[in-house]
Symmetry: none
DNA sequence: GATGAATGAGTTTTCATTCAT
DNA sequence: CATGAATGAAAACTCATTCAT
């Protein structure tokens, strides 16, 4: 009787083995040969677990995304005020510890811009919605506990987009330094207006 | 007597000839052969005017960007209130007429994410700064003529980033429909707070 | 007590299970993986019963050929005149009911032309001889019962070849419509000459 | 000013250079790498002159077919009687000198059976029609000059098919020796019936 | 006896760049 | 000044066959 391999796990194993490769070269320079060599398997084996090259990238991104989301969610819950929560959320875009995640996010967007794969697109949409819902929940709770004025809800989408936009700008211009300052400045200025004055 | 070719002009001519090609296929599917044929010159000639393929793309983007900036600037001046000016600026991200520009912008970001060429990067930075300055000027004028409250200046960077972020989201999730609504909602909500009440 | 598997029967079972696959895709697109899956056995098992991929094809063709020959022989016996028998025999090349057989025959020839395997070749020769003998018997009987003139025997080989040749032509040019007409025209013209006039 | 190459001629040159390769290995084992090496050009160059691998085969077959047709036509004209003309025509299927042509014809049919490419198919149809017309003309002339009886015309298609069928049989069973005998026997038997007796 | 995971040589095709003319 | 023919490295992907269990 032959060995029965846990296909799902092996798929993850191969993808994870290529994490470094992915962060070093980005997707464009990732070759199936490299992936196979790095994962220590034959080229043919790759195609037993992934339908094509894009599928490998999809799995890597998927794993890392899920991994990150969990850790981020924890952090959010430990922040005290709504203002802090928003800043905590946005910190992925500048925090030194999240450098890998940004690299990931960068590739993530890059894929969407160049290879509009259906499955990938749906995943992107799901991610965006998830993050947006986090934002909404944070704001809603802020309103509920009297921290924020009623109309604050209208800023949820914009604040999320703002953080993303500043990040994109920083990637495009290769300047990460000002990102933190700019996000904080905008967030503080906005919260000065939407926080309930006592 | 040898013909003296205006190198700068011919470089532009070649780039312009490929405008259509660029909008049809994007950068990834642009081949040097196509470019040469479309511009009506030999493949070798391309390399007399451009140092490599990226350089062609750079020139195309450059020309189109400059072209667009001029037309956009005009429109901005004809808008009445500050709120309208900001909306006018942001309209590039959803207006039917600016569809080509968005395609351009998309490719523009895509290049930065995948091929961080130094020259390109500097150009990107310059563009971002220009737009940001526009925003600042608009807000400054709004404050100067008593439309906006003093602290509004702090929102300049964020508003620009917000618009960019919403656009990126829409490209990534392939949904353009809500962009206008979301930008307007955010802008209106913000201006309701920063406009001076009479 | 170990189970004793009837190797010969299992070989046939596997081959028969792939009949559909064979008719759908032809031999070129038949993969060992497909065969294994369709037959409900492991890929390794295939190699316990067949020496290589060609061998699978050989078995399939063999089974189908034998299967067909039996049914064809029956039909031949029920035809009345010699002329009708020849037409009945040739009808495999155009009759709507024999579409699968033609597909089989096509692949059969295709194999011989590209992979001149020894075993396959011998099988082909045997088939051809069988058919030719049928023809000879038909003609002989025709002469014996006074239907045909003495020299008719010389046309056996040619008539058989003619039918085959017309079929090949029709496959190659993708025109099946005229096959019937052409075969009948030739057969009738010939029989008008070789039938004994009363 | 760069060299202007005669594309049509170079296409022929490359194809001709691979003639040997083609006859040695057949089409299935012909690789683009081999073709390039044999023709003494780079692999990329192949794709400047042929749209894909099939196209190379098409060109080879085309050249050889045309080449052969001319020589065959000459021979036909020098044959004396109609009977001889038919035998001359059929000799391609067994004559020692036509060994290459048979190899070609074999591959030719093989392609049609496995890769029903549109262009190839049309070429096949054209070839078949050409040969058939030759047959018809030969028979017509035979009738016109009183050699053959009126109804002989009905045998044109069948005789051509018969020759082709005998050839196919011989390829399939790998026996060339009897082909000549069988064709002649059939031809003679038939002509004994359709020639006008004096 | 039976299996199915693993393989890797081998295939077609693309295209930026060079350089002889 | 201008050209376009030639290149070849590099890529994604296939599948018959093997062999440890």
């Amino acid at each position: 009787m032959a060995i029965i391999v846990d296909k799902v796990q092996k798929r993850k194993d191969i993808a994870l083995a290529c994490k470094e490769l992915f962060f070093q070269n980005g997707i464009n320079d990732l070759t199936v040969s490299q992936v196979a060599k790095t994962a220590g398997v034959g080229k043919g084996t790759i195609y037993d677990y992934f339908k094509n090259k894009e599928d490998i990238v999809f799995e890597i991104v998927n794993i890392l995304m899920v991994e990150h989301n969990e850790s981020k969610h924890e952090k959010l819950n430990s922040a005290s005020s709504t203002r802090e929560k928003i800043k905590t959320f946005s910190s992925i875009f500048y925090d030194e510890k999240d450098i890998e995640l940004r690299q990931l996010y960068k590739e993530f967007i890059s894929i969407s811009l160049t290879n509009p794969d259906k499955e990938m697109m749906e995943f992107q949409t799901a991610c965006t919605n998830t993050y947006f819902e986090w934002f909404q929940t944070i704001i809603d709770e802020g309103i509920a506990n009297g921290e924020l004025i009623e109309s604050s809800q209208k800023f949820a989408r914009g604040m999320f987009a703002m953080a993303e936009g500043i990040f994109i700008s920083s990637v495009v211009t290769h300047t990460i330094d000002d990102v933190k300052k700019e996000i904080h400045q905008f967030t503080d200025a906005l919260f000065d207006l939407i926080e309930v004055k006592q």
